[in-house]
Amino acid sequence: MSVSFGRMETILERYPPSPEHLVSALQEVQAEFNFIPPEALTAVCNHLGVPVARGWAVATFYKSFSLEPKGEHDVCVCMGTACHVKGATNVYDKLRRDLEIPGSEGTTGDLKFSLNKVRCLGCCSMGPVARVDDEIHGNLNQRKAGQLVKDYRKR
């Protein structure tokens, strides 16, 4: 994916050149490109007057930023305490097997799915819970999780 000058320009336009906007601006970059391309990180830092080194420190510190391209569908499995005691680990492992993710988290080879653990989506009453893109799916078990992947593959 190329970082088009125009798309970056529209994001940067919204921010006055002040360091306090670093996190918010990077969040928009992440939303726009689905990851933080290094050239975009440099552009944001230059615009806000922040040393590029600090840009990297911030981009690698917060969990919501990814320096690798993410998949088309972002699957976040809640690993909060309520979900954990209701069997979220088994649900997560099922998704990892079905999506054939080699490590503990990651993106499928075809860039269709990214699988991540997230520390509490705040839907503790519906656990185990997963969020795929902007949709929340509650009361999951291994079978339902398998079906979820199948449904999203068809989209």
């Binding site: 917060y62 305490t81 954990h84 099922k94 509490c120 503790c124 009453s125």
Partner: protein, 637 residues
């Protein structure tokens, strides 16, 4: 329209009341994130389509979460001059028959959860009865009242006063229920010092976990030298298992804004920030709408109510780091730095955000402020216990029947919480412990369940109030696994700045990892305790300082479980994968082959209609077979 005086406020209030209780039927759908997870959007869309298709003369509106999460999606029906009826578990299919019955017999009878006769209207001159008749007759009288339901009986809603009653995006609704009247009162009839006095007198303590007296914090910040000053709202609800802040924002955002405005006035600040998690997209959107509406109405901006007080608010999105709930880390994050805490030689009320005096409070604390100003400190103090006044919202989750958000007076016992409100543990399993305070808290065992829930009692028991997560655990929860889980969480979330937390937690985790495999010795338990002590003593911030709590409390109350892992190589709860085996009980197995088809490892073999067998060498212990089996034939030992 700009609201500049009491008359304007009254006008908006009248309009709001007319819209809250219109002279035509009204349907409410609970559309906070938990409702949406249960499918409320489809229900809402379907109701809107039906209303449109039938040219129905009524209102379909969204509202926040009333707390009954295990009955979601919830739909309410309010006919004019009738009690409000709540319907549970409303799937799109249920909506079809609901709609038909509503049009034929007026009050659908299926899936009825309860009724509300009197709307409490906490901040608006007292209760409002929804109908005039002296007594209800026939069917309606048989519907249980909310206050008769186990889940609601002991509740007292102060912070959640509007959740589930108003459309969160509708400012008029908020004003109709007494909103912004406390702000008006504070700005026009009280000096900042008087406001602070009221908050101190109320005994309000920080609801984010620390339990520091709110009024005292405000006073220090007011007295601190430096300008500008800031008021901040901590909506970075990172504690896994707690979601009251999300629910408050999604159900009643203006209560937080109003609290911050009053706080800003008292402290002498004219700028505020709300630091909210990006993981809560709906909460962010609701806050944005609320800030926009408040600005349009003149509650944010310059010269509020013509008093010369200026105040404005900004939203800052969190980047998904648990440590950013810590005050100095949160401020570093707003400044655009990685969220690393600083040593607090100088308090943030003196030198906080950009080195200026800053007052940080949690969402729930802010939502309580208008109640204290509106009803008075003495009234507020009469609720709860002397040391912990007022109410607290808890998210009652985990292995409990009635899952949801409950707001109760401080001092309710754990037993009442789990058994009376929560309805006990599902199935025939037994209650074992309750975990409070998130990763910084601890597990409190059944023997201690008469403990009143307030800041000091929980502290003495080795746990903390925290933000109010209350995770119920039963025999199927392994305490070694729980301790390992929290360490895994904290290890991941440690910012890495100081050594005890960065390396100490890693070592502690490794030891627990060994125990969960049945390795290690009893001496290791002592080693673990001493290491935990070191991490507690030597860490810079509260994340590290409180990180050993889950380990220390489980060791204190459930030492025999650790010993079972180490000595007997057994996991009593049958959770730790290395210590369990899956087998098929041939007596119960019908040979339906379902488990064999579900098994991802191909470890199950057997012919149709014959008992199956699990090959332990291939089994990965994922539990897919146990989940699939309809006969309970899979045994874990």
């Amino acid at each position: 329209m700009k609201i500049t005086n009491l008359e304007d406020l009254q006008k908006v209030k009248d309009a709001g009341l007319a819209s809250l209780y219109p002279p035509k039927p009204k349907i409410l759908v609970g559309m906070a994130t938990c409702g949406l997870a249960a499918g409320a959007q489809q229900v809402y869309d379907l109701l809107r389509r039906k209303a449109e298709a039938d040219a129905w003369d009524g209102v379909v509106e969204k509202t926040g979460c009333i707390g009954f999460c295990y009955k979601e999606p919830l739909v309410d029906l309010i006919w004019p001059a009738s009690p409000r009826l709540t319907y549970e578990l409303m799937t799109p299919k249920a909506v079809e028959s609901f709609w038909e019955e509503m049009n034929s017999i007026r009050y659908p009878e299926k899936r009825l959860l309860g009724r509300i006769d009197v709307d409490e209207m906490l901040l608006d001159g007292g209760p409002r009865r929804l109908y005039r008749r002296k007594q209800l007759k026939g069917f309606l009288a048989s519907v249980p009242l909310y206050e008769e339901l186990d889940f609601f009986k002991m509740q007292r809603r102060l912070a959640m006063r509007n959740c589930g009653f108003i459309d969160p995006d509708n400012l008029e609704h908020y004003i109709a229920r007494g909103g912004y009247a406390a702000l008006y009162q504070a700005l026009t009839a009280m000096t900042p010092e008087e406001v602070i006095e009221q908050i101190i007198a109320s005994g309000l303590r920080g609801r984010g976990g620390g339990g520091f007296p709110t009024g005292v914090k405000w006073q220090s910040c007011r007295k601190a030298k430096g300008w500008p000053k800031y008021v901040l709202c901590n909506a970075d609800e990172g504690d896994p298992g707690a979601y009251m802040d999300r629910s408050l924002i999604e159900g009643d955002p203006h209560s937080i804004l109003e609290g911050m405005l009053i706080g800003g006035y008292a402290i002498g600040a004219s700028e505020g920030y709300i630091y909210v998690r990006a993981e809560y997209p709906l909460a962010v959107k609701t806050l944005q709408n609320a800030i926009f509406a408040a600005r349009e109405a003149g509650f944010l901006g310059e010269n509020l109510f013509g008093t010369g007080f200026n105040f404005d608010l900004k939203i800052n999105l969190g980047g998904g780091a648990f440590v950013c709930g810590e005050s100095t880390a949160l401020m570093a994050s707003i400044e655009g730095h990685p969220g690393e805490p600083k040593a607090k030689y100088v308090h943030t009320v003196e030198k906080g955000l950009w080195g200026r005096p800053s007052n940080l409070n949690n969402v729930e604390t802010w939502a309580n402020v208008p109640v204290i100003i509106g009803k008075g400190a003495d009234w507020y103090k009469s609720i709860g216990t002397p040391g912990s006044t007022g109410t607290k919202i808890f998210s009652l989750v985990g292995q409990v029947k009635n899952v949801g958000l409950v707001e109760v007076p401080m001092g309710v016992t754990i037993k009442d919480m789990v058994m009376a409100i929560g309805g006990g543990v599902p199935g025939d399993r037994e209650f074992k412990a309750v975990q409070t305070g998130g990763p910084s808290g601890g597990c409190i065992p059944k023997e201690k369940w008469d403990l009143p829930i307030d800041f000091d009692s929980l502290w003495e028991a080795g746990s903390i109030m925290g933000s109010g997560g209350m995770i119920v655990m039963d025999q199927s929860t392994c305490m070694v696994d729980v301790a390992k889980y929290f360490l895994d969480f904290l290890m991941d979330e440690s910012c890495g700045k100081c050594t005890p937390c960065r390396l100490g937690l890693k070592r502690m985790h490794a030891m627990l990892e060994e125990f969960s495999r049945g390795q290690g010795t009893l001496e290791d338990l002592d080693e673990l305790t001493s290491l935990a002590q070191a991490v507690q003593d030597a860490s810079l911030c509260a994340l590290g300082g409180s990180a050993p709590n889950p380990v220390l409390t489980t060791l204190r109350y459930f030492r025999e479980e650790y010993e079972a892992h180490i000595l007997k190589k057994q996991c009593p709860a049958k959770v730790c994968r290395d210590l369990i085996t899956f087998t098929v009980n041939p007596e119960l197995c019908s040979g339906c082959t379902l488990c064999a088809r579900e098994c991802p490892a191909g470890a199950i073999a057997g012919a149709k209609k014959e008992a199956h067998r699990i090959n332990p060498a291939l089994c990965i212990k994922c539990g897919a077979c146990a989940e699939a089996c309809k006969f309970g034939a899979i045994e874990i030992c």
